[in-house]
C-alpha cells in the first residue's frame, strides 16, 4: 500500500469518497458477520472475482484502482463492509468499501470508497450502498456514527452526503497529497443518543492530528 494511493480521491459519478488511508497495523476490532438490510437492487458481498469485472466502474478517472493488498485486506478484515450492486445481466453497477474502527464512543463505521458506473448513475445506487453500510454499522457493529472524507472542492458529492444526513464535522487541512483539504463528514447513529459525535469542530485540524490513519 502506498501512501500516495491512499491519498487520492475516489468518487462516484455524483458522489465520491475516500478515507484518508489505511494501516497495516493489526486492528484489534472484532469482525462480525452480519449482512445488511438489502433493499432494492441486488446487492451482495464483494468477492475477489469482482475485481476482474469492475473495469467499467474503475476506468472512471476518479475511481482509484488500489493495489491488491488494499482490497484483500478489506475483504479479509471487514467483508461485511464491502458490497457490490449488480443489475440485470450481472452487470456491476457500483460498489462500496468500508470498515469499522475506533474505541469507546468513537467506535464508528467508515466509508473508504463508494463508486457507481456511469450507466447506472442518477439512480440512487450510491444511496442504497451507503444505507447498507450505515445499517451494518448500526445494527451489527453497534457503532456510534459513520464517517467519510471528501475533497472540499467536490461540491456535488458533499451535497449528496448532506442529503443522506451527513454533516461536516471538521476540515482536515491539506489532506489530499498535501494539497487539497478534506471534509470529514459524519452521520450519527442511534447509539449516539445525544448526537455528540457530529457536533462540528470549530477549528480545522492537520492530518497528523487524525485519530486513525
Amino acid at each position: 500500500m502506498t501512501w500516495a494511493g491512499a491519498h487520492r480521491l475516489i468518487r462516484t459519478g455524483v458522489a465520491t469518497e475516500l478515507n484518508r488511508g489505511w494501516s497495516r497495523r493489526d486492528c484489534k476490532s472484532e469482525t462480525n458477520t452480519a449482512g445488511g438490510r438489502r433493499k432494492m437492487t441486488s446487492i451482495r458481498k464483494f468477492r475477489c472475482e469482482d475485481l476482474l469485472r469492475f473495469a467499467s466502474v474503475n476506468l472512471d478517472h476518479l475511481t482509484e484502482t488500489f493495489n491488491m493488498s488494499f482490497y484483500l485486506t478489506y475483504l479479509a478484515r471487514w467483508p461485511d463492509y464491502f458490497h457490490v450492486a449488480e443489475g440485470p445481466g450481472k452487470r456491476i453497477m457500483g460498489y462500496i468499501m468500508g470498515k469499522v474502527e475506533g474505541q469507546g464512543e468513537s467506535w464508528h463505521g467508515h466509508v473508504t470508497a463508494v463508486t457507481v458506473a456511469p450507466e447506472y448513475r442518477r439512480q440512487q445506487v450510491a444511496k442504497k450502498l451507503m444505507n447498507l453500510l450505515e445499517d451494518i454499522s448500526e445494527k451489527s457493529d453497534k457503532a456510534y456514527f459513520v464517517d467519510l472524507f471528501v475533497r472540499a472542492s467536490n461540491i456535488p458529492a458533499i451535497k449528496m452526503y448532506e442529503k443522506l444526513g451527513y454533516v461536516i464535522y471538521r476540515r482536515v487541512l491539506r489532506y489530499y497529497s498535501g494539497e487539497e483539504d478534506a471534509l470529514d463528514m459524519r452521520k450519527a447513529l442511534s447509539r449516539d443518543v445525544d448526537k455528540k459525535s457530529i457536533i462540528p469542530l470549530k477549528h480545522p485540524i492537520t492530518p497528523d492530528e487524525l485519530e486513525y490513519d
Partner: protein
Amino acid sequence: MTSMLGALAGAGAGAVAGGLPERRVRPIWDAIDSRQFKNALKLVSALLTKHPNSPYALSLKALILERTGKPDEALSICLKAKELLFSNDSALTDDLTLSTLQIVLHRLDHFDLATSCYEHACAKYPSNLDLLMGLFNCYVRESAFVKQQQTAIKMYKVAGEERFLLWAVCSIQLQVLCGSGGEKLLLLAEGLLKKHISTHSLHEPEALAVYIALLEQQEKYADALEILCGNLGSLLPVEVDKLQIQGRLLACKGEYYAAAEVFEKILEICPDDWECFQHYLGCLLEDGSRWENRTIQDKLLKMEISDDQTPFFADDLFDVRISRATGFVQKLQEKSGSDFIRCPFLADLEIERKKLLHGQGDSNKLIEYLVLYFSRFGHLACFTSDVELFLQVLSPDERLKLLDKVLKISDSDSLGPVKKLGRSITVFKFQEMTRNAGQIPVTDIEDSALEMVQMYCDNLPLSKDLDQQESMHGEELLSMACNALVQLFWRTRNLGYIMAAVIVLEFGLTIRRYIWQYKMSLLHLYSFLGASSLAYEKYKALEVKNILLESVSHNILPQILVSPLWTDLSNLLKDYLKFMDDHFRESADLTCLAYRHRNYSKVIEFVQFKERLQCSNQYFLVRVELPLLQIKQNAHNVDEVKCILEKSRSGAVFIGLLNEMGSKSLTFNEDLETRPWWTPIPAKNYLSGPYEDISNISTEELVKERKALLPKYIERRCLLPRMIYLSIHNAFLLKDGVEANGSVPDPNILSELMSLLERYAKFLGHPLNVALSVIGDVARGSKSVEVFGADLIDWVNLAVFFNAWRVSSHEEAKVAEGYNFHCWKDVDSLLKKCLVHKLETISTDTSIMSDLPLILQLMTEPLAWHCLFLQSCIRILVPSGKKKKKTGSGDHSSPKLASAVRDSVQSLIGFMEELQKWLREWVVKSEDDNLKRQFLSMTSRGGAEGPEKVYKILKDTVSSASSAEVGDRIMGALKSWNPSEHVLRVVAEQRAMLLQTLSICESRIGALNALNKQIGQV
C-alpha cells in the same frame, strides 16, 4: 515490521526480546522502520559482538542486509542463525526470532528454510501456540493444505478454540477444492465440526457458514436446512441472509414450492432484487436447471446460468404458478413507491417471456409490457441492457412493431429536457437492437450518426452548470455516433468515416477529458490506423494499473506486441509482471490475515483467486514475451542474447511453463466488455476484413474459439527461447566438434532441438517432414506464400531452426533423403519470398499500416533468430585472437560452412536493402497521405458527403455557441478545439511508425554488413 514493534511494546525496563535486552533491540527496529539501515547495521553489529550466537540478533542483521540489497549475505546469515537454532539446544527459539527470520527468508524466496525452522521449533515446544501459528502460516505460504490441517488440529488440541478447528476445516476444504483431496475428506471435516458442536456449540456466523457450505458440498441439503433452522441459525443476524440460504437449500433439495415461498419473503423486503426474482420464478416453475448440475462453487457463488430450459410442466399447473407470480408481482408494484425500483416492472416482462417459452405466451402482451417499461424507465441509461433479454424472444417483425410503438410514445410524451434526452438516446439504442444492421441502408446509418452528433451538440447547454468531473448529459451519443461511423467505414471503405469518428471522439474529449469510453474507442481506432504511439497514449490516459492490468490491458497488448514501440512494450510487460508477482508474493500473507480474522470464506476465495491469476493466459504469454522482446532488441549481439537466456535457464524455464500449462487449464480474466463492437476479442477486427453480416456471430462463440486457439499460440511462443538457445548453442558445439576431431556435437542438444521442432511443426498441424516439404515448396516457388495463412511467422521460424539443427547435425546427407528441404538455400529464399510477397500485396493496396506489423515481425523474429545463428557460425569460423589462423582437424567442413554463411548473409543484406528502399519510398509517400488528403477535402468542401457533414455539425456548433448558453467552461473548450491537429497527428504518427521500422531495418543492415566483413576474413 510494525507487528514486531508491537511485540516489543509493553515490555518494561529490563524486558527481554528474543533473548536480548529490549533496550538494545528497540533502537534497531526504530532505525529499520525509519530506513536508517546504516545506523541499524551499526547497532546490530555492536549487539552481535556481545551476543555473537544470538539467532535473533543474526536475524536482525540478515533483515537489514536484505533491505540494503545484499541478498547473498543476508541468506548466509540466515543459514547461520538456522544452524544455531538447530544445533544449540540452549539457543532461544521464540516466535519473535523465527518470524523475523521468516520475513527475510520470504523476501529471499526461501520459504522452505523458514518452514523448517518453525518445524524444528514446534517439535521442540509442541504446545507453544505462537510457534504453531507461525508454522501454520508457513504452510499457508507453501499452499501445503494437508500440513495446514494437521497443524491446525494440533492447535485445536492445545487450545480447544473454535477458530483453530475452523482453520482445519478450511484446510480440508482447500484440499478438496484446490488440491488433490477427494470429497470423502469433507466427511472428516463434518465429523470434526459435529463433535465440536456437540460439546461447545458454535459461536461465529462464519463458522456456521462454513458448516452449511460443507454440507452443501456433500449435497446434504436436508441436514443443512435443519442446522439453519435450528438454534445455530440465530448466529445469522440478518434475516435476508438467512432466507437466501434457506431458499437456495430448499431449491437444491427439489422443494421448489417451499423455496419460492422463501424467495417471496425476500422480495417483500427487497423488491428490487432482480436475481431473487429470477430464483423465485424459476422455483415456481420448478426449473431445477438453476440449481442442478452446478458445482458447489457455482452454487455458493450464485453464478449465472442459462435459465431458458423450461422443464416439462403440465399446462394447468403452469397456469396456477404463473398466476401466483403475476399476483405477487402486482402486489410488489403497488407497494413500490419509488421511481427507481425497476424489478417488479421488469418482472412482468420475465413472466411473459416464460409464458412464450412455454408455448403459452402472447408476444403482443410482451410488446405491451416493453412499451410500458419504456414509458416508465426509457430515460435511464440502463434501459436497453435491462430489456435485451426480452427482445431475443421476439421475431424481427415483432421488434419492428415494438420500435414503432416506442417511437410514437417518445414523440408524444412531454418530459423534462434531461429525461427527454435520455429517452432519445434509448430510442437510438433500441433502433440498433431491433434492426438488423446489415439491412439498414448506408444513408440511414449516416443520418443516425449525424442526428446523434447534432443531438449531443444541441444538448450541451444542459450540462452548463455541471462540474467537469461529473458525467455530462448525452455523453453516450458520441460513442454511439462513433460506432455508426465505424460501421459506415466498414461498409463503404471510405476512410473519411474513420477519421470522422476520431474527430467526433476527440471533440468530446476536448469538452470533457475524462470519458474513458471515448479513449478506449480512440485507442482501437488509432491502432487500426497504424498510429500505435497515439493508441498507446490513449491507453496510458486510461491509467490502467493493478488488477486492471489483468482485465483491461488486452485492449493494447496484441497491437503493441507487434509494433516498433519496444520501450513502451517493455514497460507494459514489466508493469504487468510486477503486479502479478507482487500479488503472488503477498497473497499468502493476506490469506493468513483472513484466517486470523476468522473470515473463512475469504480464505477459500483468496486461494482460488491466486490460482486463477497464476493460470492466466496473459501471465503465461507476458512471461515469455518479455525475454523474446529483449532478444529482439539485442539480436545483433549473440553474447548479450546468451546472457538474457541465462536468466531463464537457457529458455528451459519456458519449457517448464509448457508442462505447467499441460497440467492446468488456462484462465481468461480479460474483461471483453470494455472493447468496441468492431473488435470483440483481441484476435478479431472486423474492419480488417470485408463487410459481412455479423448479426449471427455471437461473442460467446468467438470467445470459445479464442480459448481453444490461444493456448496453442502461447505454447509456440514458449518454445522459442529454448529453440533460440539450442540453435546458438549448436553452432558453438559445432566449433567443439570441429576442433575435437570432427566428432558429432552433443547428441542431447541436437535431439532436444529436433523434438522441439517436431512439437513446433505439430502446432502448425503437420508432422515435421510434411511441414518442411511445404516450406521447401514455397521456398522453391512451387507453392505460394499464401499457403502459410495467418501462421506465416511460425512457418519461417520452423525453417530457420531446422536449418540450425541440420547444419550442426552433420547428418545433412542422411536427412536430405527424409526432408524435402534444402539447408541454407531454402531459408534464404523463404525469407525473401515472404517479404517480397508482403511488399507486393501492399503495393497494390493502401493497407501499408496494417501490414507493417507483419513485416516488422518477420524482420525482428525469424530473421533475427537466423542472424543469431549466423553470428554463432561466424564465431567458430573466425575465432578471435591468435587462434584466428589455426584450424582444427575438422577443418574440412569449414569452407563449406563459410560459403553457406557468406551466401546467407549476403542474401539477407540484399533483400533487407530492398526493404529499406521500399520503406523509404513509403516514408516519402506518407507526406502526401491519403488520409490527410481526404481530411483536407472534408474540411474545405461544404459538407456534401457523410464525413464532411459530421465535421460541419461540429464546426457550426463551435461557431454558434455562446458562453451564456453552454457556460464558460464548455465555451472555452469549444474555442480550443482544433480538428486539423488530430488528423495531422495521425499522419505524423503513422509516419513515425514507418521511420521506426526503417530505423530497425537499417540497424539490421548495419549488423549484417559487419557480419559480412567478418566472414570475409575466412
